[in-house]
């Protein structure tokens, strides 16, 4: 099973940390004022981050 590509669009991220907190497998970490993908392999495609990001900044590209 190929792992999905999780993307944070830096231009749109405002660093609210919702994705960091609500990701069940801790894919994200804060990097200064914006979120960064640190453990892409751990993603289980639950889509919580994409659903909750208020800034249209997180995208989960599944096959």
């Amino acid at each position: 099973m190929s792992s999905p590509r999780v993307e944070v669009i830096d231009r749109l991220c405002k660093g609210c940390s919702i994705c960091v907190e609500f990701c069940p497998t801790r894919v994200f970490e804060m990097d200064g004022f914006i979120a960064k993908v640190v453990k892409e392999d751990a993603c289980i495609k639950c889509m919580q981050c994409e659903l909750r990001c208020p800034d249209f900044a997180v995208k989960v590209h599944t096959e």
Binding site: L12, K14, G15, S17, L51, D55, H61
Partner: protein, 273 residues
């Protein structure tokens, strides 16, 4: 695939103006998904708003939009619906815009039962103008104009809508992201006035004055206070203290205003013939 929200957003409009962690973006995503579910044609859909943070939402949406005077969104929307009854009319506004400054328009729009969908983004405060208390600010909560706590009792927007005569009333929160689009879609499909109250967070104006350490704390609070209406029916009254019911709160079928008005026109034509 990642959900394609961009197709429904005017090119070059992002990033939006909302503060980091503001739930309005989550509701906007829900609205886009609901419009896709219902298959609304963007050329035949009008989103009307008044003034406020929530009322900035139509500015980002790629469909027919109308940004009007403070509190008057329901009145302008009624005008659009009367002129073009085949058009899908949605209203988006905040709690201050909808039930304080536009309270009169809100209740009368509910009473007439026009086929419109009103999405109220209730963040308990006037966010855009600097955090003044609104009719939905909880009793005892701090706002910039109530620094020692708000003495006023609060409005329950959903109960107000039911009392005023709306025929579909539902409530959800910004935490319950998937419920937002389901309820808005149900409201759009309902023939008559639908009011969907979405409890939201305002980290900038409400959160920092009321001891919420972060956006995530505010989101978790929304999760804690929400009780689905079906579950609440089986719970004892003392457990429901301080809780907020979510889900479809009220639904009934009643004649729709535009259809009734068309009958009056036909009747008047017959009388003159």
């Amino acid at each position: 695939m990642a959900y394609d929200y961009e197709k429904s957003i005017r090119p070059g409009k992002l990033p939006h103006i909302w503060c980091p962690g503001c739930g309005h973006g989550i509701v906007m995503k829900g609205l886009i998904r609901a419009m896709d579910t219902c298959g609304l044609d963007k050329n035949n859909t009008a989103i009307v708003s008044g003034i406020g943070c929530a009322s900035r939402l139509p500015g980002y949406m790629d469909c027919c939009t109308l940004h009007t005077a403070h509190g008057r969104a329901a009145a302008f929307a009624a005008g659009v619906k009367m002129a073009k009854p085949e058009m899908n009319v949605l209203i988006v506004g905040g709690d201050g815009d909808g039930v304080a400054i536009g309270g009169n328009h809100f209740i009368h729009a509910c009473r007439r039962n026009m086929d419109m969908t009103y999405v109220v983004l209730n963040n308990n405060i006037y966010g855009m103008t600097g955090g003044q208390f609104s009719p939905t600010t909880p009793t005892g909560a701090n706002a910039s104009t109530t620094p020692y706590g708000n003495p006023d009792p609060t409005f329950d927007i959903s109960k107000l809508a039911i009392g005023a005569g709306a025929t579909f009333v539902a409530r959800t929160t910004a935490f319950h992201a998937t419920q937002i689009d389901k309820l808005i879609a149900e409201g759009i499909k309902h023939k008559g006035m639908s009011v969907i109250e979405v409890l939201d967070d305002c980290p900038t104006c409400f959160g920092r004055r009321n001891k919420f350490r972060s956006v995530v704390d505010m989101m978790k609070r929304l999760k804690e206070v929400a009780v689905p209406v079906q579950a609440a029916a089986k719970m004892p009254a003392e457990k429901l203290e301080g809780k907020i019911l979510t889900g479809v709160l009220f639904k009934e079928e009643r004649p729709e205003y535009c259809a009734e008005y068309a009958k009056i026109i036909e009747k008047a034509k017959g009388a003159n013939a």
